[in-house]
Structures are given as structure tokens and as C-alpha cells.
């Protein structure tokens, strides 16, 4: 055991400790200095996103903005595609390196809390609250999702209202009325379908975020969300217990079925085999969930507002989204701000987004505009969907963020995974989640 000797070990440890001298490498970044800002003319904006839909949108938007000649710039894009988490990982790494940052980055909403750690967002991103007037602020939906200390660092790109997708043909077959008002009525009406092994929703046992998706959508119906404006958790409530209990009971009765997540193979199989005759997910699930996996069920699906809980609440809920942020103090910052403004703060831009990739307007005032209101969805059998979306978007409670959102999502998601299989009670799940969260945050 020659090399196990204490002396050798200490020597190796000493070498290791010596290298701690390298630590200053990390600290104290030299200021790169502000480069001269581009005032006008041709600009190529570095654009990072995880979603090909946004590439399409912004390409079209740049073209339209150039044609409209409202701005002193001629926009073009240099696109970098990355996974949603990679956008933030890389953005922070490049910001620390003081080079290679994008001009515009699409920050997926569940990744945004990472930008809230140690003031990263205020140090790196343009503050939109100084770019927007009061009218715009009150008209924009979901500004709260990207707000830190009263300042907004990204503009949300989709409203993501949650709807109940359902199969009218199969509802008819099992004698379920399409217009029941409450979850409880729907459960009662679905007895025949349940006996035939059908399910009307999903709970997820994959990653905590997926497990939480079901909860969050239902919880918002009760008018609540994960955090209050000051970033404190708002999950220790009787409503949260009731929703978790509802999920566990629904799984037990077969009203909901368990899948790892709403996108993977098992869920696709459940859709394809017509085990799932209804499921509640946001508007984008139409394209990314249903059309991607069951294109042959075109025309068979419809959407409606979620049934309410008889204990109270409404139909408002939302899930997902991506906020577009501009990196500040770069030569192209002003140009990037202008392009994002065109895309989200003008009717032309909002319409273009919808037509190019199906993103819903993020301005309340546009839901009554005829260009949107008359739209019919071919996959949903020509249904007029905007009146439904409008009702939901108006009711969805604001989603406030916290730098510790991921910790809460993991804690609550994990506890819900236990509770939905009956391993612990709903009440206990909320208690466990809060205890876990508090032990891990200051």
C-alpha cells in the first residue's frame, strides 16, 4: 500500500490546494467597455432560440419591419439554435466571458429564474419597463413572468391559455355531454368511458416540472399561482391541497392516466390508441402535441374552456411560454429593441406572429380584432377558437417568478409525484414541499 501513505496523500492535497491560487481567474472581470452603438443602416442581429417557430417568426418580422421602414435599420438575423436550457447556460457563460453574447435571446419561461440569480438579468438584459409606456404595460399580458423587482427583462411571446382538448366523437360514444360546467360533473358523466379504460387527462411522473404542469394548470383555475409578487411561495393553501387530492383521486378512478410527460412515447401511444379522449394543455399543444403525434386525428379534436371546480374559481390558466430579451450595451442593442418592439408591440407584428407560427396575441386589445376573431382552426375541425382563448387569457392569474422557482418546482413536483400515487396525503405533500423549499432557500 505504498501509495496510500499519508505523506503522499498530503502532498497531492497540497498540490491541489496550491492551485487555488488560480481562483482570482474567476473574479473581477475587466470591463470590455461599451462599443459604439449602431445608429442606422444594415444590422445583423445574433438571435438565439430553442424553437424553430421563432426563427420563422423573426425572419418574417425582420422582413416586414424592413418593408414598413418605421425604423432606421435594415434587419437581418444570424440564428443560433439551442435547447431551451442551453440558451440560458450559454448566455450566462458568454456574458461572463464578455464576448459572443446574442443580441436577442428567447428565454423559455421555466429557465428565466436562472437569470434572476445574483442579479444576472439586470446586469445583462435591457429593462423593458423603461421602453414601454403605461398603455402598453397594461395592455400586455404576462409581463409579470419576466419581472424582477418591478422591472421586466423580456417580452412574452405567447399567451399559452390552457384549454380542454376533447374528442366529440368519443364523448358522444360514451354519453359525455360536451358542455358540462364542472370537473365534478365531468367525472360523473365519464363513468362509462372510464369503465372502457378511457381517460380524460394526464398526470406526469417524469421530471418534477412535468408533474407540476398538471397541478399548476388546475391550481390557476383556483386563482392562485406558485409565487406572489414579492417572490414568496403561495402553495401552502387549502386550494393546493384540494387540487392535489383531486389529481390523486382522478388517477385512482382512472379519470386521469399516468404518463412520464405530455410529449413522449407513452403519451403519444395513449393518444394514438384513443385511450386519451380528452386532455388539458395550452394552445400550443395543438401543434406540438396533437398534430405532431396524431396528425391523422385531424378534425376529430375540439377545444373548450376547462370545467370549473365546484368549490370555486374560474377557467383561467396558462402554461409555458418564451420571453424575448435583448442584451444591453452592445452595438446592436437599439436595433434589437426596435425589432422586438415591432414584433410584440404593433398589431402588424402580432398578426404576423400568429400567421407565421400560431403564437397568440400578447396584447389584450387584439383579441377582439376581426383578423384574429374570425380565425378557424383546421385541425380542430374548423372551430373558431379565439373567443375561447380570450376568456381564458383574461382570467389567468399572473405568474410571478422567483430566483428559487426551480427549487420550489422540484420540491412540489416531487411531493406531488408521491401524493398522486397515494404514498402520502395531499396535505402532507404541501407540507413536505414547503419544508424542503425552506430548508434549501434563505
Amino acid at each position: 500500500m505504498a501509495d496510500m501513505s499519508r505523506r503522499n496523500f498530503l502532498r497531492s492535497a497540497g498540490m491541489l490546494a496550491g492551485s487555488v491560487a488560480a481562483a482570482p481567474l474567476v473574479a473581477g472581470c475587466g470591463d470590455g467597455g461599451k462599443s459604439k452603438a449602431t445608429q442606422s443602416g444594415a444590422v445583423k442581429l445574433d438571435f438565439w432560440t430553442h424553437d424553430p417557430g421563432y426563427v420563422k417568426t423573426y425572419t418574417a418580422s425582420a422582413k416586414a419591419a424592413n418593408a414598413a421602414k418605421t425604423y432606421p435599420f435594415t434587419f437581418s438575423l444570424g440564428v443560433t439554435s439551442l435547447a431551451a436550457d442551453a440558451v440560458v447556460t450559454k448566455l450566462i457563460a458568454q456574458a461572463q466571458a464578455k464576448k459572443g453574447t446574442p443580441d436577442i435571446a428567447g428565454l423559455e419561461v421555466s429557465q428565466f429564474p436562472r437569470m434572476m440569480k445574483q442579479n444576472i438579468a439586470p446586469s445583462v438584459l435591457v429593462d423593458w419597463s423603461s421602453e414601454l409606456n403605461d398603455e402598453q404595460k397594461s395592455d400586455l399580458l404576462r409581463l409579470a413572468d419576466y419581472t424582477v423587482d418591478g422591472k421586466a427583462y423580456a417580452l412574452e411571446s405567447d399567451t399559452c391559455p390552457t384549454v380542454l382538448y376533447y374528442r366529440p366523437d368519443l364523448f358522444k360514444k360514451y354519453g359525455i355531454p360536451e358542455d358540462v360546467g364542472s370537473w365534478e360533473e365531468l367525472q360523473a358523466a365519464a363513468k362509462g368511458a372510464l369503465a372502457a379504460g378511457k381517460a380524460l387527462g394526464i398526470c406526469c411522473n417524469g421530471e418534477p416540472g412535468a408533474a407540476l404542469g398538471t397541478f399548476r394548470q388546475l391550481y390557476q383555475q383556483r386563482g392562485l399561482n406558485l409565487f406572489d409578487e414579492s417572490g414568496k411561495p403561495t402553495i401552502d393553501t387549502p386550494e393546493a391541497v384540494a387540487v392535489i387530492k383531486f389529481m390523486a383521486d382522478s388517477l385512482k378512478s382512472g379519470f386521469f392516466t399516468m404518463v412520464p410527460d405530455p410529449y413522449g412515447a407513452p403519451n403519444a401511444a395513449a393518444l394514438k390508441s384513443e385511450k386519451l379522449i380528452a386532455t388539458f394543455m395550452p394552445n400550443w399543444y395543438n401543434v406540438y402535441g396533437l398534430q405532431a403525434n396524431v396528425p391523422k386525428q385531424k378534425g376529430l379534436w375540439r377545444v373548450r374552456t376547462l370545467p370549473k371546480f365546484s368549490a370555486g374559481g374560474g377557467v383561467g390558466a396558462a402554461l409555458g411560454g418564451t420571453g424575448f430579451a435583448v442584451v444591453k450595451d452592445k452595438p446592436n442593442t437599439q436595433a434589437a429593441i426596435d425589432l422586438v418592439k415591432y414584433t410584440y408591440l404593433t398589431k402588424a407584428g402580432q398578426l404576423l406572429r400568429f400567421k407565421t407560427a400560431g403564437y397568440l396575441p400578447t396584447m389584450k386589445s387584439l383579441y377582439d380584432a376581426p383578423e384574429f376573431n374570425t380565425y378557424t382552426d383546421a385541425y380542430l375541425g374548423g372551430q373558431k377558437v379565439f373567443p375561447i382563448y380570450k376568456e381564458i387569457a383574461a382570467q389567468a392569474p399572473p405568474f410571478h417568478q422567483s430566483a428559487d422557482a426551480t427549487t420550489l418546482i422540484d420540491a412540489l413536483g416531487g411531493a406531488i409525484q408521491k401524493a398522486q400515487t397515494g404514498a402520502i396525503s395531499a396535505d402532507q405533500a404541501v407540507k413536505d414541499a414547503m419544508a424542503q423549499y425552506e430548508s434549501q432557500t434563505k
Binding site: 492551485s19 440569480k117 411522473n205 417524469g206 412535468a210
Partner: protein, 317 residues
């Protein structure tokens, strides 16, 4: 060929003037004293620059709070005291211990067994088998996860369907129940790595001189006894090597549980490496990640040394 490079040392010096030597001859001067240092220097230079320095930085970061941007804030031992009260961390430690134990106790003997089978005399299609057994490691982990999620699915999975057809029950919640989820990850790990490790044993087996077997056979030893008395001792070095590699590798296991179950349900399959990853890249708590990574490092280091000592792998001559 051999004349050009290998001049002098033992041969008497030729009539040439000593300073007019070509470069190759100067190299030739490097004697057994200096040679080892020259031989290991490329490694240690690279190692110092690209590993020791980052490790030092990482060690420093473990005493700070840092989100990856700006200057780290010194917090002393705060990360460590938080770590040792973090139930998730202990759960991930326990899970990792299970993966390590299973890997060493199952994968090592399994790959030896497979290697033994592949080494059978006069086996036809040996090349084909070897190639097939190797395929799991070349398939993209994303796809592996996709396939195994399908296989394991409670309602639609092939495994439950087969169980139902053969044994009449098949309601196992492979990925959903905390206990089974660990088993599922373990099966995936075994599936992915057994064939690859077989190669090492096979190489070892082919190095065992045939005469040893023949001598044992003459002495009347049966196949089992030959395996035990000839194969196992001959494979001791290669076994020790594989054990250390599997030990160190499985202690850092990340991809399999991360992609198959995302560490769930409720952290039931999360490994320490995933815990580190989660802190660094999902929660942006890089100081905390460094502290947990450093703790993992210490544990693996100690385990490695213990294994080393027990098996005599790293013993210096």
C-alpha cells in the same frame, strides 16, 4: 532501421565529433533516469493546465456563492453546511451507492460470463456477436432513453406485455414507483455497459495461455474448476482494472437516470452527478454545485483508493 535511432550508450563512441550529432542522437542520450520524466511530461503539462487549474478554481468556488456571472461572493463553509442538511443530496448519495454496488456486483461478473461464453473454442460467429454486444454504446443516449421509456411504460410497454403473456401479471410501474425506477435504471446501465466491458475480459481471456487449460485438463479438472483455478487467477489484473473503472465510472453516473427518469419520481433515481448538474445548470447555483461536486470527488477518491488497495491495482512497483 534500428541502427539510426539507437546509437551510443552501450556502444563505444564513434569517431564523430560530439557536437555535430543529429537531433535524433541527442534524444538518444536521454537515459533511463530522465526518460520517465520526459515520457510523463506531456500528460502532466496538459493535466496541470486543463485539469488542476480548473479543479483549483472549482475548489475555490465551493466556498462562494456564484451564479456564473460577475464576481463570486465568499461564503466560507455555508455551501457545505447546507449540503449536509440537504435531504436531496443524501438521497442522491444513497442512489449512487446503489448504482455502484449493482454495477460492480452485476456488470463485472456478467461481462466476465459473456466474455467466457464468447471465448468458447470453435465458436461460430464470434465476430458478429462481439459487434452486436458492442452496439449499445454507440447508440445516442437520447434514443436509448426513448426506447427504454417505451419498453418500460406501464400501460403500453413491451416488458409488461411480455410479463403478462408469460406470467399473467404485468402491472409493474417501472418508471413510476421509486423502487422499480431504480431497478429500471440499473437494468439500463447493465444493458448499456456489459457488452463494452466484455471486450476487456475477452482480451484478458485470450491472453491466458492455452497450456494452462490443457495442463488443468490433464489433471482432470472440470470446466468449472478450470474456470475457477485457471481463468479467474489469470484474469485478476484485468478484473481489478475493470472493477476500478466501473467503480469510478458508476460513482459519476449521470446520463442513464437523467435521460430515463430525469432523476424521478421525486428524486428516487437521482445520482450525485445529476445533483451537481442540477445545482449548476438548472438552478444556477454554481458555488453549491462546486461544493457538492467536491464532496463527490472526495468520496470517489477514497473509494478508488480503497479499491485500489484491496485489489492491488494502483500499487507501485
Amino acid at each position: 532501421m534500428s541502427g539510426t535511432l539507437s546509437v551510443t550508450r552501450s556502444a563505444p563512441p564513434g569517431g564523430r565529433d560530439p557536437d555535430g550529432r543529429p537531433r535524433a542522437r541527442r534524444l538518444a542520450r536521454v537515459g533511463p533516469r530522465i526518460a520517465p520524466y520526459v515520457f510523463i511530461s506531456p500528460f502532466y503539462v496538459l493535466y496541470a493546465l486543463f485539469l488542476i487549474v480548473p479543479i483549483g478554481v472549482g475548489a475555490y468556488l465551493s466556498f462562494t456563492e456564484w451564479g456564473g456571472f460577475g464576481s463570486p461572493q465568499w461564503v466560507g463553509f455555508a455551501n457545505f453546511s447546507r449540503l449536509f442538511s440537504d435531504a436531496d443530496f443524501f438521497q442522491s448519495l444513497r442512489n449512487t451507492a446503489i448504482y455502484v454496488a449493482l454495477s460492480v456486483a452485476v456488470i463485472v461478473p456478467a461481462s466476465l460470463l459473456v466474455a467466457q461464453a464468447l471465448n468458447a473454442r470453435g465458436l461460430r460467429g464470434r465476430d458478429m456477436f462481439r459487434l452486436i454486444y458492442f452496439t449499445p454504446v454507440v447508440l445516442s443516449p437520447i434514443i436509448i432513453a426513448l426506447v427504454f421509456q417505451l419498453l418500460y411504460d406501464k400501460n403500453f410497454g413491451l416488458i409488461n406485455a411480455v410479463l403478462k403473456a408469460v406470467f399473467g401479471f404485468g402491472g409493474i410501474d417501472w418508471l413510476g414507483s421509486p423502487g422499480w425506477a431504480k431497478v429500471s435504471v440499473a437494468i439500463l446501465v447493465i444493458w448499456r455497459w456489459t457488452g463494452y466491458l466484455t471486450i476487456f475480459f475477452l482480451a484478458g481471456l485470450q491472453g491466458v495461455p492455452r497450456e494452462l487449460y490443457e495442463a488443468a485438463e490433464v489433471d482432470g479438472a472440470g470446466p468449472l474448476s478450470r474456470f475457477w483455478h485457471v481463468t479467474v487467477p489469470s484474469l485478476r489484473p484485468v478484473t481489478a482494472f475493470v472493477v476500478v473503472v466501473v467503480l469510478v465510472g458508476s460513482a459519476q453516473i449521470f446520463e442513464e437516470p437523467y435521460l430515463l427518469t430525469a432523476g424521478g419520481p421525486d428524486g428516487a433515481t437521482m445520482s450525485v452527478a445529476q445533483f451537481v448538474y442540477r445545482a449548476a445548470f438548472q438552478r444556477q447555483e454554481i458555488g453549491y454545485a462546486a461544493a457538492s461536486g467536491f464532496t463527490l470527488f472526495v468520496i470517489v477518491f477514497v473509494l478508488g483508493r480503497l479499491a485500489n488497495w484491496a485489489l492491488g491495482v494502483g500499487r507501485s512497483k
